[in-house]
């Protein structure tokens, strides 16, 4: 259905098809203006990359360690030593934990609101969930640190006690707070509104006819969701997850407050420690010297490139899925 509208929109949008070769001056300037706005987006993206590269180069030139594998961060020392290994590891681990939890639960809430709750109740719930997307991340951080973390420390201890034979859950320090796991859990709560709000919108767009048809054929509600809803909304669900991932990767202040930031790759995710790109920038920015500042910009550039790659992959998956989707 949406494809056919696109087609007609395209033909209607073709100026040549309407008034022959004569494009009026008003049209031309309006086209120029709107195209300019579009090109501005490309220009801004290019400028972000260009300026970050430009300001990152001075530190990369004096870095005496391998920028990708070095585990310490002492850029203002002479000789300057810094690398992103710890930041990349921490960012990756917290984002994975957040996504493992937030994606299924986010889809669950969205399904609940769209197909299980009464419409009015569902709308009110959607509103509350949307509202949480607006809670400033520093508040999530404080709440995570003083309210949430004490309450779930026992969960982390349980993980170590019963699953400690899995290396990542082992805990040699006998401390279960301020860990990558905690940061990941708080991030999960933070990205939940993003994931559920977008997937809810997608679920609500599933054509009524598909739903009714499958129910009429005797499908249970779950079969209807599996057979009518998921195939139609898969691209949207993926983009919801990816947007959530984007937020998890770039979250700054909550992570800075919760993690006990250290420069050491520690695979024991329940122990205090860990770090992330964004949190490290917030923690080091104020006291950083000239090289330090430039090094932080370099790490910001890497974060930018990672989010770029994530979004490109998401786009690619969606484009591929669309071709096979039965709904279209």
């Amino acid at each position: 259905m949406s494809t056919s509208t696109d087609e007609t929109a395209k033909s209607a949008a073709d100026p040549a098809g309407i008034s022959g070769a004569a494009i009026r001056a008003g049209d031309r300037s309006f086209l120029g203006l709107s195209r300019g706005a579009g090109i501005l987006v490309l220009a801004v993206m290019a400028a972000i990359a260009a300026f970050l590269v430009w300001k990152a180069i001075p530190s990369l030139q004096v870095d005496s360690a391998n920028f990708l594998t070095e585990q310490s961060w002492l850029p203002d020392q002479t000789p300057s030593v810094f690398g992103i290994a710890v930041l990349a590891f921490g960012t990756f681990v917290t984002a994975v934990i957040a996504m493992l939890i937030a994606v299924p639960i986010g889809f669950g809430i969205a399904l609940f609101i769209a197909y299980y709750a009464r419409p009015k109740f569902g709308k009110a719930l959607g509103f509350i969930v949307d509202l949480l997307a607006a809670v400033p991340s520093i508040i999530f951080g404080l709440w995570g640190l003083y309210n949430f973390m004490p309450a779930v420390t026992s969960f982390a201890e349980w993980l170590t006690e019963y699953l400690g034979w899995i290396p990542i859950f082992a805990n040699d320090k006998q401390l279960w707070t301020k860990s990558l796991l905690m940061a990941g859990l708080v991030l999960a709560i933070m990205v939940l509104p993003t994931v559920s709000a977008i997937s809810r919108e997608v679920f609500l767009q599933v054509p009524r006819m598909h739903i009714e048809a499958s129910l009429a054929l005797g499908a249970t509600r779950w079969e209807m969701i599996k057979m009518a809803v998921f195939p139609f909304s898969r691209p949207g669900m993926i983009s919801a997850a990816m947007l959530g991932l984007g937020r998890a990767l770039g979250e700054t202040i909550a992570v800075a407050l919760i993690l006990s930031a250290v420069f050491e790759v520690n695979t024991h995710i329940t122990e205090p420690g860990g770090n992330s790109f964004a949190a490290n920038i917030a923690l080091k920015w104020g006291e950083a010297g000239e090289v330090g500042r430039s090094a932080l910009i370099a790490s910001g550039l890497v974060l930018f490139l990672i989010t770029l790659a994530v979004n490109m992959i998401a786009r690619w998956i969606i484009a591929r899925r669309k071709e096979f989707s039965g709904a279209n």
Binding site: A47, P136, I138, I139, Y162, R221, G250, T307
Partner: protein, 352 residues
């Protein structure tokens, strides 16, 4: 006759099948609760699980087995799915309500008239009192400028994508709008800092902050506007074009007005999205304790940076003020959200 009737009966039997009685769910829930209570009271447990978790597992398994025995595999799966979806809802809503209530309780303790009508000028960090007026005005101004810049650009770009765009340029713009949506907020701040402040084009100011917010807002505005313009029926465009109306007039007079409520909603949701951003503002503004309405010169505080500042001062009075400001910020966003939703509900196109 009789053949038809027996056939009908058989068909009915197949269609409805044997179902679990309605009382089975509360009964199972009650049973699970009792198991949970026993676990709680005796202290006996399986691999250290909490009584509540055990009760939930008992309920889920009990229902699945009962359903499998009586209703068959398909309905059993459906029941498991239903229970799990209800469970995700409860699991998710708990922290979400918890944080809202925390902010509400802590924030309300400092809410009074003074809190909204005074600034922090000449208020010591250790004293109670003072207020958020300057920060609120700063947020209004920074977010206002960001909106004034982002909405026209975003709308025009969306018009390009929907009405004009074709070929490679459309593909790349559309692609990078998606990518731009994922730009981390601290990177937006770093960009404005390196491109405009380090190069001396701008000072740290409300305007620099507004530009950083623009980076975050523009893609959101483009995406939502694009969706709204797409649902304007093509009949309207074609009818107007057939009458010989120039395309730019069709867009400005017919397409945009038809979609206007949706466009406003999109813009307001974008506003709500950036109002609570802290990280980019820390790199692009100076904090002030006082009102400064000049966004181009001097320090200007906003609600998120006010919260940041008060928390880092570490006295009980300042931390209380931070919670109060957080509640005020959430209320501010709530009002914007509510206004957007009401607009959307009232003027949403009825077609589809």
């Amino acid at each position: 006759m009789s053949v038809v009737e027996t056939q009908k009966a058989g068909l009915e039997g197949q269609l409805s099948g044997r179902r679990l009685p309605r009382w089975s769910t509360p009964a199972l829930a009650g049973g699970a609760l009792i198991v949970g209570l026993i676990v709680q009271l005796t202290g006996w447990t399986v691999v250290g699980l909490a009584p509540g978790v055990i009760a939930a597992v008992v309920f889920l398994l009990g229902q699945a087995i009962a359903s499998l025995a009586i209703e068959g595999r398909r309905h059993s799966k459906d029941r498991i799915a239903t229970t799990l979806i209800y469970a995700t809802f409860v699991v998710a809503l708990t922290p979400l309500l918890w944080i809202l209530i925390t902010v509400l309780v802590k924030g309300l303790s400092v809410f009074d008239w003074t809190f909204f009508t005074s600034t922090m000028r000449n208020v010591s960090p250790r004293q109670p009192g003072g207020g958020i007026l300057h920060a609120f005005l700063g947020t209004l101004e920074q977010v206002g400028i960001a909106t004034l810049v982002s909405v026209p650009i975003g709308l025009l770009a969306a018009i390009y994508l929907v009405e004009f765009g074709k070929g490679r340029l459309k593909f790349w713009i559309s692609f990078f709008v998606d990518v731009m949506t994922g730009v981390p907020s601290i990177v937006a701040g770093l960009f404005i800092y390196t491109a405009l402040i380090l190069t001396g084009v701008l000072q740290q100011s409300g305007f620099a902050a507004a530009l950083a917010l623009c980076i975050l807002m523009i893609p959101v505005v483009i995406r939502s506007s694009e969706e709204m313009l797409k649902i304007v029926p093509n009949d309207l465009r074609e009818a107007a074009l057939a009458l010989g109306v120039p395309k730019w007039k069709v867009i400005l007079r017919i397409v945009v007005p038809t979609a206007i409520s949706g466009l406003i909603t999109g813009a307001m949701l974008a506003v709500a999205r950036v109002a609570g951003e802290t990280a980019p503002l820390l790199l692009t503004t100076f904090l002030a304790q006082d009102i400064n309405l000049n966004a181009f010169n001097g320090s200007q505080t906003s609600l998120p940076t006010f919260i940041w500042d008060q928390i880092s001062r570490g006295t009980s009075s300042s931390v209380n003020r931070a919670w109060g400001a957080a509640l005020a910020l959430i209320l501010f966003v709530l009002i914007i959200y509510a206004a957007a939703r009401i607009l959307a509900a009232r003027f949403a196109p009825k077609s589809r």
